[in-house]
Assembly symmetry: none
Homo-oligomer: 205 residues x 4
Amino acid sequence: MGIAERKEREKVELREHILQGAMDVFTEVGYEQATIRKIAQRIEYSPGTIYLYFTDKDAILFELHKRAFGELEGAFAPLLTIDDPVERIRQMGHTYIRFALDKPMLYELMFILQAPMKAEEVCDDWEEGHRSFLFLVEAVKQAQQANRFSQASPEVIALSFWSSVHGLAALYLRDRFKMFAEEEVPQLIAGSIDAMIHCFSRGAD
Amino acid sequence: MGIAERKEREKVELREHILQGAMDVFTEVGYEQATIRKIAQRIEYSPGTIYLYFTDKDAILFELHKRAFGELEGAFAPLLTIDDPVERIRQMGHTYIRFALDKPMLYELMFILQAPMKAEEVCDDWEEGHRSFLFLVEAVKQAQQANRFSQASPEVIALSFWSSVHGLAALYLRDRFKMFAEEEVPQLIAGSIDAMIHCFSRGAD
Amino acid sequence: MGIAERKEREKVELREHILQGAMDVFTEVGYEQATIRKIAQRIEYSPGTIYLYFTDKDAILFELHKRAFGELEGAFAPLLTIDDPVERIRQMGHTYIRFALDKPMLYELMFILQAPMKAEEVCDDWEEGHRSFLFLVEAVKQAQQANRFSQASPEVIALSFWSSVHGLAALYLRDRFKMFAEEEVPQLIAGSIDAMIHCFSRGAD
Amino acid sequence: MGIAERKEREKVELREHILQGAMDVFTEVGYEQATIRKIAQRIEYSPGTIYLYFTDKDAILFELHKRAFGELEGAFAPLLTIDDPVERIRQMGHTYIRFALDKPMLYELMFILQAPMKAEEVCDDWEEGHRSFLFLVEAVKQAQQANRFSQASPEVIALSFWSSVHGLAALYLRDRFKMFAEEEVPQLIAGSIDAMIHCFSRGAD
DNA sequence: CATGAATGAGAGTTCATTCAT
DNA sequence: GATGAATGAACTCTCATTCAT
């Protein structure tokens, strides 16, 4: 059934196209100002068409949110080859920040915006977030086992580290770094991550 | 000029009244649902009147944002009596988080929402934020002088600490702590702050 | 306060204007097809303006529904001067039908459409309808007291009479009299009402 | 031509299938909410297919309307065995009402909704309605011949009776019996029908 | 100074219908 | 014959903002 296959493919492609368009619009005008109509206009389809692929605006949002985690995980994958567990965590921090700054709208969707957390799929358990967090906890445990890291609760350490890098990203994305010269910011952020690692990695306690 | 003075005073008072009403509405229904009309209704003036005192909705937002810093500074004031500089920083962290959780709307205005940062007054320099940050830097320097704290750049340490507590607050306020049991969250947050302090305060390096 | 009075008057007038426009649109395109936009267009105001005077579409509907009863009661008023109670009931029937045929949209609003019965004011008690019904019951009782009418339950008789004239009106308005030649219909309707009266008025039983 | 026959048969069957689905949807969600898509979904065909069998939504409506008369006539059939012509008419009234209350959607289609009367087939002559009416007229004539009924024009008597029972059904279905306690309504309706019969059947005049 | 009626633009969403395949 | 993706027009309703008074 060549025809059926092609149709199926086209359907998938249009879905992708919509998501891409939505992402573009989100990026350009922000979530608040992103409307179904703007998305439709951008991909040159009618607003109604979008509703053939997504039940509502939030469904698009949630799909993008889910994919964003895929991308982040993809960015984390190469770090698994780093042997030194402390260095691995350090690189996770830098990778995380780079992701946030390179793909700000994705990052907003994942960790800042309220809307995606209202999706039903996420109401009880936020699978994507949970998975990412456990990934970090695991890395911390390994560093602890290697006796290279603070022996405090690995969850607390992971939370400290995550909240710290998220804080850097969130403050930056929401324009709260005006007290720094713009050119210094990247170094300050990087320095801050390294300071954190340094802090947690000083021998056993 | 008694009359002119009285008029001036009345003008200031109405301005205050609008801000108070806006804050109330804002707190009750959240930023998305806060409309000029609701604010006007609450203070029993017409929508048009509000535009005599503020150029637009964002101007109100910005003003509230500024006030919010006053409140936070007020909450910080008692901490000045704490002699131990490390303990002082630790208490700053806890006070900051408590403020964020007790007055989430104010906190959003100060550190999360985009809108207030679009005000002209803030474009080049974000005075309020800067002042608060310097306050933290100062505390760090004192801890360093007392040889109780990491000797890394005080700006970097302050940034690490701030981003960390902001990260905790922001993740919590935007519902990203679904991976934790709700009753554990406060302890986790507190634990995370203390871990951070512990991390930076361990002797010279 | 001449100005305030004029403004008040203008407000009332626009409200009336909207209701008139709504009635026109209802009459022309029927309730289903009557939209806020069409009403707004007809009176040359913006759709939003209508919402300053009515909370929603149903509120307009309900207001018209209420007024329609006022009109019907006005049409009934002169009948009070008829001494003969049976003749009075007969005239009520004819007046009722005439009202239905002369002002079909009002009649639809009062007795056929579903929407107006969803208004909160009407959910428990449908005051207008109840009042009209009691008016008829009263007339029946007088005819019975004069020993001119069937001695069955006055409520049942009133219901029979009302349902009968409503049936005539409703079948006609919804185009169910195609089995009759159009020119005969008025006579048939009138004949039917008179037959009903004749039927109930034949002495005691 | 076995093939042609089979195709013809299949065509008829699908048509039936659509009508059945439409009736189901119609009954479940009501006229307002019944959409072509819902009908298509229910029978697991595409919306486009429906347009191969019916020119538009109203055509489906009209067809169902026609079928509904078949059902009503089926309900009337057993009454033919009743010998007493007056009792027969009385039972027709009760059967009619029962039909209206048991199958409100069918009843709406037959006697209340505007849409089905717009079909071309019905523009000049409404065959189904006409037939039913004549059936009633015939019954009246028999009652008159037996000297058991008012000798007024049988058409007028039939119209009175029909309009009366329709009025009861229509007022009830459109929620206009709020002035009665809900539990009394069935008795009131039944009483009203009997009163009507009583009224017309009292000897010659 | 203050009003508040009015607007225009736009929001998300739905639907009967069409038409290339 | 059947599909079903796509459309275009429409829906109700909301809001920040303006401006004649």
